[in-house]
Symmetry: C2
Subunit: 195 residues, 2 copies
Amino acid sequence: MVETRRQQIETIASSLFREQGYAGTSVRDIARGLDIQGASLYAHVASKEDVLWAIVRRAAERFEAEIEMAERATAGAAPVERLEAYVRGHVGVLTENVGQASVFIREWRSLSPDRRARIGARRDAYENRWRQLIAEGSQAGAFAPTDPPLAAAYLLTALNGIVTWYRPDGPLSARAIAAEFVNLSLRSLGAEERP
Amino acid sequence: MVETRRQQIETIASSLFREQGYAGTSVRDIARGLDIQGASLYAHVASKEDVLWAIVRRAAERFEAEIEMAERATAGAAPVERLEAYVRGHVGVLTENVGQASVFIREWRSLSPDRRARIGARRDAYENRWRQLIAEGSQAGAFAPTDPPLAAAYLLTALNGIVTWYRPDGPLSARAIAAEFVNLSLRSLGAEERP
DNA sequence: CCTACCGATCGGTAGG
DNA sequence: CCTACCGATCGGTAGG
């Protein structure tokens, strides 16, 4: 697959931001990864923050698309199955593009106030869907009684931790990780093991 | 309690590093919090990194002391009780000094290579104790069968997530958070609810 | 703890 | 995409 220059920039910036943070990465660091001069980067992007913004937006879109798919695929199903779909989708987004996902999770605070607010609202909406599902499952008796906001925070950060250690060429496949994390997630909510 | 100037520096730096990251915080930012000139900070510290190093070391000591206490308090007890002590200790360190704990968890990568390696070894040793306990509990049948390294990573990042949203003056007390997170943790490992 | 200052690097622009 | 350059800020030092 041919990557446009713009895509290359975002890919390299993602991994640099993941490793060194946004503030710890200079425009020249990014340019070096493309074998061009620092100032030449501005032929392709308007600012350093625009690169961060593009990465964060793309990641947000992927999380949202994935949870929409999970919703549609398990509409009317039992809470346990719906949660499994949520977890698989979330872990899938995490592992398919760790750099991008990691930046979304950890570096969105570096955005300008208005952009930070906009992405914050989308993050809240996403997390609310998890709270909602947990609340429903809890009320239906499929999950143990729990505080939905707290349980959602617990669950999502547990999953998000994957970005701190996951490597695509590591010993554990994304499938194996997803399988184990589905079990851990279901148990966390007191759901019975799947058959 | 009277804080020495040095302690004030670490306290202010902790909260700034937590909010803006180490790279995103300047020496002048820290000095401003003390109402002194940027250069005057160097009457108290050798370098910016020394401040980070001091914070990280102190946090590491607290986590280590707390798990030692948990070990002693529950020596010979059932895995469920031991895990509960681990979780309470960990959450206690997190909430008692969120700034310091947050910097320990999220900013240790900004240390120089040798210091990063040293703190990395201590983090590994700490995580190993969790793995060990999970493995023992799993073998004894007190916990559901699981991959101890993966389960430990899941659990610890779930707990660590607390530093991203906890505020001492927030609506949830540290006690209440600890209680709920103990439940979530025990359930995550498939332990039966405590009576 | 201050003033005065240092070289290096930062994000970014002008003009090709 | 390059060269040449900008003002601002960075971590840090000298000398009081």
